[in-house]
């Protein structure tokens, strides 16, 4: 391995090192605050390392990894989400757990898994990344081990995710049988022009099931609502953003390598999945009274929208999907940030009744939540609107009329339940609860500031999306 290749891996090595550093810090019995600060510094180092290695990209590290602009963009979105999740976690876990420190090991490991997914070009690295991500997620979901809900959702996710990993592996094995290779590009070359057998098609179907499960697309979405509800709120934010970004990135890279979009049949399968996700996600969200479950169904619908950008399989599609994921990450992070802050010691703030009249009690939080819901609904002047707009544009350019029409129609349905929450925010206030003094004034300030920055970002991306799109375009040139 040459020096440049090693250097290109630097951000990932820093990320992997971060979990080791945290392990040793816990062994040395340092405080939660020290670990939180060190973790944040490690994330900053990762970002710095990414900036530092930018000039030597693209680098190919045969046979496992490829680090190019595409990977850098998706990794950037992942690191950004994890930074926000980490900031939100401090108060949440400080209040609830007697040992909140191991959380950061798991968080860094999960991040590493998601980041490895974005750079993988081989089945082994794909599988390892996916499993590092999911094994840490099992533990993260069940982290608050005194809560029955957390254990239940952890076990549900564990069984289903392990089952789908087995499906994915069988799919990979059948791919390997047909092509004799595990590299994406080599598979693509072998498959071009050949007529694969029935076992190979079975393998393909199994892989679609596994990827659909990880992205929580209909009809493999059944875990989503339960896991979103049972997991601690910051972990839910992580599942909704970083884990999905990683899996989507590897899906994109794989399908580009094997020219998945050239096959009429597969294109139909994926547009069917997208349409089903958009419709069912929005309809199931309509009657939800639990905001975590509601956001789970809304995320199913949003992943459906995202698949519309995946369908063309061109550079415009990638651009649209990166912008969409970035906007979606900011939006859903601010929504879950509010859930995290409002959660009490015993219970997460998941009932809609908690949010009744929030505007009159805590106007800043209500404003952030309202903006993020507007963005999820796709109201103009928010990031969500523009993201949906470019996805629509890409779909329309490639004559994907049915998914595009469904996207527009289901967005209208979505508007109903987002607006329902917003109207709750402004309803007449119940008697104000006694204010108790926050325990960690500095971290409270940091959390509020983070949420405020997220809100500003949503608005700025909605009004001036040009620079962001230009940046994405420039990164995608690196290949």
């Amino acid at each position: 391995m040459s020096n440049e290749q090693l250097l290109a891996l630097l951000p990932f090595m820093v990320l992997a090192g971060a979990s080791i550093v945290v392990i040793l810090m816990i062994a040395a019995r340092l405080s939660h605050t020290a670990i939180q600060v060190a973790g944040f510094l490690m994330l900053c180092f990762t970002v710095l390392a990414m900036g530092y290695v930018r000039d030597i990209l693209p680098q190919e590290i045969l046979p496992l990894f490829i680090i190019d602009g595409f990977a850098a963009l998706y990794t950037g979105v992942i690191i950004f989400s994890v930074g926000v999740v980490g900031l939100l976690s401090y108060i949440y876990f400080e209040e609830r757990e007697e040992n909140p420190k191991e959380y950061y090991i798991l968080l860094f490991l999960a991040t590493l898994g998601a980041a490895v997914l974005t750079i993988s070009r081989h089945f082994v690295s794909l599988f390892l990344g996916l499993e590092i991500l999911s094994v840490s997620l099992y533990a993260l979901i069940a982290y608050l081990r005194n809560r029955n809900n957390a254990i239940e959702s952890g076990l549900k996710y564990l069984i289903l995710a392990a089952l789908t990993s087995a499906f994915l592996l069988l799919g990979m094995a059948l791919f390997y049988m047909e092509t004799g290779s595990m590299e994406f590009n080599a598979i693509g070359q072998k498959l071009a022009g050949s007529d694969p057998g029935v076992l190979f098609k079975l393998g393909l179907a199994l892989m679609v099931v596994a990827i659909g499960f990880k992205l929580a697309l209909v009809p493999f979405h059944l875990w989503a609502a339960d896991v979103y509800q049972g997991a601690p709120a910051p972990v839910t934010a992580f599942i909704a953003t970083a884990s999905k970004v990683g899996v989507f990135a590897v899906l994109m890279r794989f399908s580009l390598a094997v020219n998945l979009q050239q096959s009429e049949f597969l294109l139909n399968v994926f547009s069917g999945i997208a349409i089903a996700s958009m419709i069912l996600g929005n309809i199931l969200a309509l009657r939800q009274q639990n905001i975590k479950r509601l956001l789970a169904y809304s995320s199913i619908a949003h992943l459906g929208y995202l698949i519309v950008a995946f369908l063309p399989g061109t550079r415009e599609g990638i651009e649209a999907s990166v912008f969409y994921l970035f906007a979606y990450a900011i939006t859903i992070l601010s929504a879950f940030g509010i859930v995290t802050i409002l959660s009490t010691r015993m219970k997460d703030a998941e009932d809609l009744s908690v949010y009744r009249g929030l505007f009159w009690r805590k106007p800043l939080l209500a404003a952030v939540l309202a903006v993020s819901l507007f963005s999820l609904a796709g109201i103009p002047l928010t990031a969500g609107f523009f993201a949906k707009f470019i996805v629509l544009l890409t779909g329309a350019n490639y004559n994907l009329w049915l998914p595009v029409i469904v996207l527009v129609l289901t967005s209208v349905i979505g508007l109903y339940y987002y607006l329902r929450i917003i109207s709750t925010l402004f309803a007449s206030a119940p008697a104000a609860e006694p204010r108790h003094k926050p325990l960690h004034p500095f971290f409270h300030f940091v959390t509020y500031a983070t949420l405020f920055v997220l809100m500003v970002m949503i608005c700025v991306l909605g009004v001036f999306p040009g620079p962001a799109i230009e940046g994405i375009r420039q990164f995608l040139m690196i290949r």
């Binding site: 080791i20 392990i23 040793l24 816990i26 062994a27 040395a28 019995r29």
Partner: protein, 133 residues
């Protein structure tokens, strides 16, 4: 650089002759189990009386079932054992190709062991291996 993993005989792969080792191993396994059970039965002293078969709790009549669940400590050690045990399989390919991998391979394995050591330090410091509270 040649890397050898599992080596199997390639000539005459269909001949049932090649199943002989498997059959031998099976025989050995059965014989070993039988031998152990028989020998312990013969060698061990066995004097059975009614008093000896009853539970002994310092002279007091025994109460309840003796088959209580194992302490959780045991479970923790068992899980840690599984993890540390399975990681050994990464040493196997290294051991087979020890010479051809040279110093670079040695460095890589040392790194792997180093990371592992960090985990070990962590569980020691956490007191996961302490039996007495």
């Amino acid at each position: 650089m040649h890397i050898y993993l599992l080596q199997a005989v390639t000539q005459n792969p269909d001949s049932s002759y090649w199943y002989l080792p498997v059959g031998l191993q099976l025989l050995f396994a059965i014989a070993f189990v039988g031998l152990m059970m028989g020998v312990t039965h013969l060698l061990g002293p066995s004097r059975k009386t009614a008093d000896k078969l009853s539970n002994f709790e310092s002279g007091i009549e025994s109460v309840g079932n003796a088959r209580q669940p194992m302490a959780v400590k045991y479970f923790l050690v068992a899980i840690l054992f599984v993890l540390f045990d399975v990681e050994v399989i990464f040493f196997y390919p290294y051991a087979v190709n020890f010479k051809s991998l040279g110093w670079e391979g040695f460095l890589a394995v040392m790194m792997f062991v180093g990371f592992f050591l960090c985990g070990f330090i962590y569980i020691i410091k956490k007191g996961a291996l302490k039996w007495e509270d």
